[in-house]
Symmetry: D2
């Protein structure tokens, strides 16, 4: 019963197979190969426009490289205080930008709102003594498993652009959000005003593959230099591109996400029905955040469940339970059963 993270599971068979196929013969290195070209075309098709897309191997690299491309060293990125870039990346954004600041903002359900952002911007009033607000970063789905609606994204984009800032979306769980909204990738990104996207695949079935996508191609040259300078330009690029290519093929990414989300819903519903357990946030993607008494958490662990305590209080814990593309259905059922018992 591993619910510790969606990156605790391996890789989808279709993606593994693609790697073996990609291994054949000699190809040009560093991304000038046919598989990467095919991937680029596929992304352009999925996003319904020309995009500048760059494979990398980690979400931290995707985020930090994207932010460094849109935020100067003397800039600030406004983000939620619980965002991955703020909490889980050991200061990668600060490193890649050359010392920019993350301005941490509070908000219910791990989400920002225009009002929160406008208040946050008031911190920056003193010319060069403050960092220059340069970008907003939102996470879709969020670190609490919640989802921005298209209207919410658009409203945030308006704040960003109204203040001369750029909007970045950390889409480590992009597919999970997309299938919930039931909209198109274009609608969830550039049509709503997103300028730069970290498009995740690792958590949803790849081995190590993400893509940074800019909807404005003029960012491309700078990004390519930064990716190389950061050691993130993989020589045998075909093997990263092939993962993404297989991920997108035949809607594998959407199927994987739908499966994980559905199981998470089942898990959330099952837990919510248990006396003493309450959901901390609505289950809108593949994560379940549930308050439960400490003894219950302990019992679940004793029975073999693994998960994080997202927050600990004297009497209770908020458990984070993440369901992946490959989490066994039986594990979900068993977890609920143990919790009930």
């Amino acid at each position: 019963m591993n619910f510790i993270s969606d990156n605790a599971y391996g890789a989808a068979p279709q993606i593994l197979k693609a790697l073996t196929e990609a291994a054949e013969g000699a190809m040009t290195s560093y991304g000038d190969d046919a598989i990467t070209a095919r991937l680029s075309a596929k992304l352009a098709s999925i996003f319904e426009r020309d995009v500048a897309a760059f494979p990398v191997v980690t979400g931290t690299a995707a985020n930090a490289l994207a932010l460094a491309t849109i935020c100067p060293p003397y800039g600030a990125v406004l983000c939620h205080e619980s965002s991955h870039i703020a909490v889980d990346e050991c200061g990668a954004p600060e490193f890649f930008t050359g010392g920019a600041k993350l301005a941490l903002l509070e908000g219910a359900n791990a989400k920002l709102t225009p009002a929160i952002l406008e208040r946050g911007l008031q911190r920056f009033g003193s010319g060069v003594h403050s960092a220059k607000p340069s970008a907003i970063s939102i996470t879709q789905a969020t670190e609490l498993g919640t989802i921005y609606s298209l209207a919410q994204i658009e409203a945030i984009a308006n704040v960003a652009h109204g203040h001369g800032m750029t909007l970045h979306m950390d889409g480590a769980r992009f597919a999970n959000a997309l299938v919930t909204l039931g909209c198109s990738p274009a609608e969830m990104t550039w049509k709503a005003g997103v300028d730069a996207l970290s498009f995740g695949a690792t958590k949803n079935g790849a081995l190590c593959a993400e893509a940074v996508i800019f909807f404005d191609r003029t960012r491309a040259e700078e990004f390519e230099y930064r990716r190389k300078k950061a050691g993130h330009l993989v020589s045998k690029m075909r093997f990263i591109s092939a993962q993404l290519d297989a991920y997108l093929k035949d809607d594998l990414w959407l199927a994987n996400a739908r499966r994980a989300n559905a199981l998470a819903k089942t898990l959330g519903d099952g837990l919510a029905a248990i006396s003493g357990v309450t959901l901390a946030s609505p289950v809108e993607a593949n994560g379940v955040f549930a308050w439960m008494p400490g003894p219950l958490a302990a019992r679940l662990r004793k029975e073999g469940a693994t998960f994080y305590d997202w927050t600990r209080e004297p009497e209770r814990v908020m458990a984070r339970l993440v369901v992946s593309f490959a989490t066994p259905e039986a594990d979900v059922a068993k977890f609920i059963a143990v919790a009930k018992s």
Copy 2:
């Protein structure tokens, strides 16, 4: 007839198979898994001592992270002017160190010597006005396909340590050098005074796998933080470790290197026997550097050969021909045949 680079070829079947095996089930992320533990044990065994070993996905990351761990922002790394860190990494060492300098030194066959290093150190005489010489980096095998003998490495290590510096070895083609010398990995590294090693596997059969190895475990904590902060801590680490594990299993790495070196020898011998062609450096690993008339180079390309002009002169070019673990024997034979005709 692709001789453009050893990273133009795919991946060894054994390594691909290992990926599929590694994909099974749930595991702890970020390196705290059984495959990574097995790899660490294997590396300790191969190097005949406890080592701190860290998988990463590119050689540039390996080099730049290693150098940042041993050279402060105000330091200088002495290296050959043709070294990969100086020429091919877009300033990654400068970025990762926070602005350290590479001091570029000339030397025959792309190799440094104690005398060259001592002369190079004389540039640094003015206290804090100069950067502080902090590390020496050598490449084994070198960018011209040559090899340092154990005595040569040891002599350079003595210069490094005598001046309070650390010795780094860029071993992107470590196996190719090792099988030529016929020594043990321990002899070619820490027993000769190497402190930090970029241990390459990608060019010799992996998809995207290198390891940074410190022979002094006290470097480990700093390196781990730096790797994470640089976005180089892969979440599903099992997939990087599994490549290295398979690479080392049953001496695959040595077999691959022997094959490539032998073919390179054949290619070099074949070319050297042709009138008008001369080898620019001895063929000691898997690279052949050959001066040839411009028209010959053009004819070879017309027949389908791909390779770099390492140096261009009005009448002739120095062709770089790199043989990989998977280069077809027939391609070597054909290349020689075309050159002869």
Copy 3:
């Protein structure tokens, strides 16, 4: 009636005179001169021990260089959310450290406490995914004009050292705090556990002179390299050292601070006696923070007073009134009189 900052005033005549005297003849550059040597001896005497002291020209440089010397790129500095390093330095600490994080903590009267720090440290629980808590920085006197007692400093130092961290003190208004406590410089620093000090002089009578002081001389080499690399090693160092030398001579620094503090006390008492005005924090140094109705603030400005609104609310503002070594007594009297009327 300029109360906008203590750096709005010029320089003490004794310090200007010292510059003219220092201009005579040829001297060794970059700090190897007699005046700098005299200053070092004077600081050692004042601090009752050998210290490594380095003149620089701004407080931001002093803080950021000091922090970069004690906090690695992957580290975090715990500090108050209102601290100058967090709010007023445009991310200089992040830049100089190579991307370290400032962990911002709340606390009454702009002060940290051991309990606040211990709670803050709980954010850092996840190994290399979080930055490594490496330093604590406190401001003495604080940005709200308050002062840490010796016992409070010592308690914070114990938290720092107990967690393997280093304690930095931003002493931009060191003298103002010192004369309030009536203790020795040694007592307010290393005897209480402070490891690194930004010793300010500019706000209290110098033109552009601060000193970074380490009580552990092993920091010296690294700091000297960092200072040079940051362009903060002044060639004609005699002119910075001479300012500090004159500042310390005949207790000028203490006299200036006493004067400013006394005037601030007068100003604070005068305002506190006015109906509708309340002090936001106790007046312990040379700053007065007073809540007053918006119309009163407007009237004061109309009469020629300048000051910052530290906080604005619909009905009232918190005015920051800073008194310097050179603020005319008449301005203080007039300000109170206008406020009363």
Copy 4:
């Protein structure tokens, strides 16, 4: 007989006097004061156009901040191998740019030429694997006391602009070059194609004052943020501006430079007339570089002369003798006399 550097001497009396005058009363900090405004107007007048000018306190800061504004982290700055930015700044340009590279080029008399630059550019052929050539930096007067003619500057500017690069001039000894050429500041800079200038005053009579000047005002915002983030925005800016203001008033800067140059000419002529002494480069500014037998150098030092050995050979040394605005005439005469005897 101090000929070690032009920064070994103090400050011009007119500049010291200006400091005392500038100390009066309260002013806005951080450059929003009347003296800084007056300086900006004066620089605009001297350069015959609107300029964005920013006082800083060291030449290293001026150079590194200017370069960081015109060269991205993944860029390269082409410069002479003997340039101050390459040799004497402990890697400040690398630090401020976030890891850009200096591409070091050889050239007679410490000067670059279009041919040298075009050859240097050929190193950068491999896309993102190399740094991106982004700027050229020349020194006027050079580190060997020589001077670029207007035509030479213009030819270099054409190379820069033809390759999409920016031209920076390190004018630490700007005045010394200007009076030799007998041209206008405009002619020696923007009219010849210079984009960014480090305008030196410290070596020629100021205490600690340089200005970074951009002839394209769109650089201003970025520079101001960078200056602040680097701790180089002096709070009591009036005191830096006042130095520059007095430096430019009544042509003090030109008079000081003429005096130093004339004495250097005298010194050079005197030495060149001595058997066994030869000038290593023409005396075109305030530096004399003279080859002399080792014993002669030793004798001069025994008689009290101080100077650097710029180069040492077994039989002879190249002495660097720098004359400042304040070097006593008698010292020059005595030095020649001792050398002759």
